[in-house]
């Protein structure tokens, strides 16, 4: 017959340690796959795709310093689905004729910007961020100028990638 814990203190210690160990082993064994499912998104690569914006010749025809909002549709794999993500591209031509492709997301926390023609500014409806037509912050809390979409020219067509230029932390989108 085994000794009861009341017969010997060392037996008691032994049992306590074993109880603790068993709990720990089971706990860790369950925690590992749970952690896996929680952390899994960290190991997935973002699906980066190109989408057509329009013909460069048409885009070049816009008024200088007047933003034009052009929708773009990314077909992106998200989890187990493939979805169309509609996004706005703000096309702006500066006085030299150079085209900019801005995102309409505020660089503060990502709210959708409104263009206010009377003030020639983009206003953010969330915390009052303000940008001028070339994307520079002119008021409010945004920490950086407007994001610009990664883009390229292909046979006269402008292609946009679902990715912002110089955006190391991958904010927005």
């Amino acid at each position: 017959m085994t000794k009861s814990s009341e017969d010997s203190p060392s037996r008691r210690t032994f049992m306590t340690v074993i109880i603790g160990l068993i709990s720990a082993v089971i706990g860790v064994a369950v925690a590992i796959p749970i952690l896996g499912t929680i952390l899994s998104p960290l190991f997935k690569k973002r699906d980066i795709v190109w989408a057509e914006l329009g013909k460069i010749d048409d885009l070049k025809k816009i008024e200088p310093l007047t933003p034009k909002f052009v929708p773009v549709y990314f077909r992106v794999k998200e989890g187990w689905t493939i979805n169309t993500l509609p996004r706005q591209v703000i096309v702006v031509k500066d006085i030299t004729g150079k085209l900019y492709f801005f995102s309409n997301q505020c660089t503060h926390l990502g709210c959708p910007l409104h263009w206010i023609p009377a003030r020639q500014k983009f206003l953010c409806p969330c915390h009052g961020g303000m940008f001028n037509v070339l994307g520079k912050v002119v008021g409010g809390p945004p920490p950086r100028p407007l994001f610009q979409w990664v883009h390229k020219l292909n046979n006269g067509t402008v292609l946009i990638q679902n990715k912002f230029m110089d955006n190391p932390k991958d904010r927005g989108v």
Partner: protein, 368 residues
């Protein structure tokens, strides 16, 4: 007949004794109405669970469908509007009553030794209930949900060092997608409610373990000095929880529930437009209890300071609140004998109201 059943149980598990012990708890006699808010919160939480469970008969946590299934529930399910309305106004009421309960505990100094752990357990409940509110707002799947998810993810991304990871983890991926919604859904209907269900009994057990403390006015006849910890264990007069305190609890519960029901029937739950990522003139709005925080985000402009509004100020404020019993260790309880704490508390509440009011103002003209 009834007697027989009772005896059957008593013989085996001593049921009557158990019930009597729970019901017989002595509650300080004078402040009765002020002590109803805790029970009210427990009552409101039960209402949330019960209504929420049946919302699940219809709700689909998938971005384009979530809003439509909610719309269907509201407009095409018999009395679905009332069910949804109770869940929404119940949630609002719960957050408001949390503030009332915390204020009563704060101003009466009820968090002081030996009741520190009650406060800490309470703060866990507070955080979880607020997150339940936020995730609920996101689940509707309307335009505001979409932007709330994105804005809060971006706020999270400003946590030093690990912000980017947190952002991906709460989104369940790199995009706001079907996985995001599923994560939020699991958190709202299962994970956090379980935490609340665990912590309410812990909280109430702790309260009862140290004895319901009540406010300074319960101790007018006590000859002991305020510094004597024994003083706060023996209120002048007590009443049993059942029926005296429960009677008051139930009256308050009925009154508050009637208000919730009225709001549910007459105002219901606004569902709002379907999310349109291309909309050019949409101004996202946070729920009212988040407006003070929202207002904070307007200050601290520029690159170096953004960390203050997204991380430092909220986290510091929360940490101070969490650790309050360990920071304020004086023995005085009466709000009049600790003027500094009382004035600070009132100022804090005023600031909260002020920030909420101006946080609700439109910040930019939608269109000019």
């Amino acid at each position: 007949m009834f007697k027989k059943i009772q005896e059957w149980f008593d013989e085996r598990i001593g049921l009557t004794e158990l019930i009597n012990e729970f019901n017989g708890e002595r509650i300080p006699a004078r402040g009765g109405w002020a002590y109803t808010f805790g029970s009210l919160l427990a009552f409101l939480f039960i209402i949330q669970v019960v209504t929420g469970m049946f919302l699940l008969f219809y709700y689909v946590p998938y971005f384009p469908m979530a809003r439509n299934s909610t719309y269907f529930l509201k407009h095409h399910v018999l009395m679905g509007n009332i069910l949804l309305g109770i869940h929404l106004w119940g949630a609002f009421t719960m957050i408001f009553i949390l503030l009332v309960h915390m204020s009563r505990v704060y101003f009466s100094g009820s968090y002081k030794k030996p009741r520190e752990m009650q406060w800490v357990a309470g703060m866990v409940l507070f955080s979880v209930v607020v997150i339940l509110g936020l995730t609920g707002y996101m689940l509707v799947g309307n335009e505001n949900s979409w932007w709330t998810i994105n804005v809060l993810d971006n706020v999270a991304s400003h946590v030093p060092f690990i912000g980017g990871f947190i952002r991906i983890l709460v989104k369940g991926g790199t995009e706001t997608s079907v996985l995001t919604m599923q994560h939020i859904f699991a958190i709202h209907v299962w994970l956090l409610p379980i935490v609340v269900i665990m912590f309410i009994p812990i909280h109430i057990f702790l309260v009862r373990k140290t004895g319901e403390q009540g406010m300074a006015l319960e101790y007018k006849n006590s000859k002991l000095s305020d510094d004597d910890i024994n003083k706060w264990k023996h209120p002048d007069a007590t009443v049993p929880f059942f029926p005296d305190q429960l009677f008051k609890d139930m009256i308050v519960a009925l009154g508050v529930f009637a208000v919730i029901y009225f709001l549910a029937v007459y105002y219901g739950a606004a569902i709002g437009p379907m999310y349109r990522p291309l909309a050019l003139n949409f101004a996202p709005e946070a729920d009212w209890y988040f407006l003070a925080n929202e207002e904070l985000l307007k200050y601290f402009p520029g690159h170096g300071l953004i960390i203050f509004s997204t991380f430092l100020v909220p986290v510091l404020g929360f940490a101070i609140l969490f650790a309050l019993p360990f920071i304020d260790r004086g023995h005085e309880r009466s709000p009049f004998k600790r003027p500094a704490a009382t004035v600070l508390g009132i100022l804090f509440l005023l600031l909260l109201v002020y920030l909420t009011l101006i946080g609700g103002e439109p910040k930019a003209p939608a269109t000019v």
